[in-house]
Amino acid sequence: MAKMRYLQALRLAMTEEMERDPNVFIMGEEVGQYQGTYRVTEGLLNKFGDKRVVDTPISEIGIAGMATGAAMVGLRPVAEFMTWSFAMSAMDQLVNHAAKITYMSGGRIKCPVVFRGPAGVGTQLSAQHSHSLEAWFAHTPGFKVAMPATPEDAKGLLKTAIRDNNPVIFMEHAGLYGSSGEVSEDPDFTVPFGVAAVRREGKDISLIAYSRGVAMSLKAAEILEKDGISAEVIDLRTLVPLDMDTVVASIRKTHRAVVIQEEWRNAGFAAELATRIYEQAFDEMDAPIQRVAGADVPMPYAKNLERAAIPTEHDIVAAARRALS
């Protein structure tokens, strides 16, 4: 174990997998010579050379297609979107090609590709640079969707993603890059997909989150504790596959839940989560599930408006209190 930052953990995962498997390569805008826009890929060009660390033009369609095509014939590309906001330009290649080729071919083609990059709200990046869009990708069959909340998961989930034989949407959070924690240095360490983590045990209410929502939920749980409320915090880790067993087990204990997402509320992933909980545990619910989500507005630039548009631990606390009242 070593203490490292989330972005270093990502880099370590890529380094180890590139060392392990010569078919793994890195590509994207500014991943090489510029050392990565957020420095996630720093040093990789020097270490692995420009055959395996490929700087591309600003061509998101081309990037998505190149990664997909290379995966279709046996390579294992790890393609970076400088931010997930820019993946919007590539939706056709991502959805109509990467996600579907295995099914359309009756299983005759594998497509082991990872699309990764920062998602979520930064600091005043305004309307066009503040997306995560996990709901879009979760909606689309054929993708696995991973959204690590901790440095250890950043490493372990990314390694699993690279070894997976399917297209993985790997959404990091720009706001977590600097966060640090203990991370296994064992090159065999991975975190499996579809296994949620109970980050904090509790008995009065379940706070169900992913990505940056987990840290917010843990802070909320601390605040609630002062009022004698015991909150359980669940980190979903992957949205597809989704570990409903862990969620439902928690609900059976607490009978109340808050579901948390940072992205726009309407038709967001929290709605899916709430719906599934009701589908699987309606009779267990003592109160309506509370949803904490981003405001349904394009992200405004002004600091005060941006703050108002995104959820905080205080929104989670308020939601929990509503569920308990």
């Binding site: 081309g62 190149m66 290379a70 279709m72 109509n96 090609h97 071919s105 005759r108 083609i109």
Partner: protein, 337 residues
């Protein structure tokens, strides 16, 4: 660099056996497409359907020159011919078109998504321009793994107006990847004639603008096509760099089932125009060439027709006798293991 129409090769270049093979392949494609059309109208085949009649030389002149399955082929929804040329059996293609479990994609793909990776055929694609971004990655992988192989990527004139195509051509030009682009320039994208969709009709200039060399080829003559393909393939294998063939061709039938009636096509082209192009039918040309060279007799022509008919009919019998995919395969293949 633009506008060089390649001359047909001389007799020495091609043996009788090879020429007969070209004829046989083109005929198989033509007869297959005709039967597919009938089966569609018998409601045995559903979805969209795009025939290759008239364009056979683009497939017959190129795909047999490849080192399959090591070379790779990508194409559009107009893909029956490509599958057959890559060696997918008529049975597997027909069964796929009828949505049967024995189809080349287990009935999941259909007409627009024929595929046969074991034979180097990476599939058709229903999105205009869709295969070109994929070709960047296939070309990249062929280079990355140190092979001398080529990815051949077919697409239509309408696809030249897709942004992803330009991103990809530029990346292929920049990274110097071994891709052969075949522009199936049949002059129409559905009902839109070339001149109504492009600000500038010389597509070689568009390829050149991204650093890819290319030339115009007469795609109505399979020998011309074959020679151009061989030169292009040699160029790519030697230099490692892409090449772009803007192939002049024509589809004899409608874009798809929606305009297969003459009325539909009259909205955008005249009978006279179709007739004019039919005189350049690649099948007529090769038969003429075979006869001129004394390579074929009337009996042989009949025999080839008969064996082709048999193959196509066999494929229909096979497909109709094949089961539908099992219902529990619905959720299979969303993910690979």
């Amino acid at each position: 660099m633009a506008d060089t129409i390649v001359k047909p090769p001389t007799e020495e270049d091609i043996s009788r056996a090879e020429m007969l093979d070209l004829y046989r392949l083109m005929l198989r494609i033509r007869r297959f497409e005709e039967s597919v059309y009938r089966k569609f109208h018998e409601a045995k085949i559903g979805g969209y359907l795009h025939r290759y009649d008239g364009q056979e030389a683009l497939v017959a002149g190129i795909i047999p020159q490849l080192q399959l399955p090591h070379d790779k082929v990508l194409c559009t929804y107009r893909d029956h011919a490509h599958a057959i040329a890559c060696g997918t059996s008529a049975r597997e293609v027909m069964a796929e078109l009828m949505g049967r479990a024995t189809g080349c994609a287990l009935g999941k793909g259909g007409s627009m998504h024929l595929i046969d990776p074991e034979r180097g055929f990476l599939g058709g694609d229903g999105i205009v321009g869709g295969p070109i971004p994929v070709s960047v990655g296939v070309g990249f992988a062929l280079k990355y793994t140190g092979t001398n192989n080529v990815c051949v990527c077919y697409f239509g004139d309408g696809a030249m107006n897709q942004g992803g195509v330009h991103e990809s051509l530029n990346m292929v030009g920049l990274f110097k990847l071994p891709v052969l682009y075949i522009l199936e320039n049949n002059r129409y994208a559905m009902g839109t004639a070339l001149g109504r969709s492009t600000g500038q009709p010389d597509f070689i200039l568009k390829a050149n603008a991204h650093g890819i060399a290319g030339e115009v080829v007469d795609g109505m003559n399979v020998l011309t096509m074959r020679e151009a393909a061989n030169r292009a393939l040699a160029h790519i294998r030697e230099t490692g760099e892409a090449y772009f063939l803007d192939v002049e061709c024509y589809r004899f039938v409608g874009h798809g089932i929606g305009d297969d009636n003459v009325g539909g096509q009259k909205l955008y082209r005249t009978d006279e125009e179709v007739d004019k192009w039919r005189q350049r039918d690649p099948l007529l040309q090769i038969i003429r060439d075979l006869k001129e060279r004394g390579y074929i007799s009337e009996e042989q022509i009949e025999a080839i027709e008969a064996e082709t008919k048999l193959e196509v009919e066999d494929s229909i019998v096979f497909a109709e006798a094949s089961p539908e995919p099992p219902l529990d395969s619905l959720y299979e293949h969303v993910f690979s293991e």
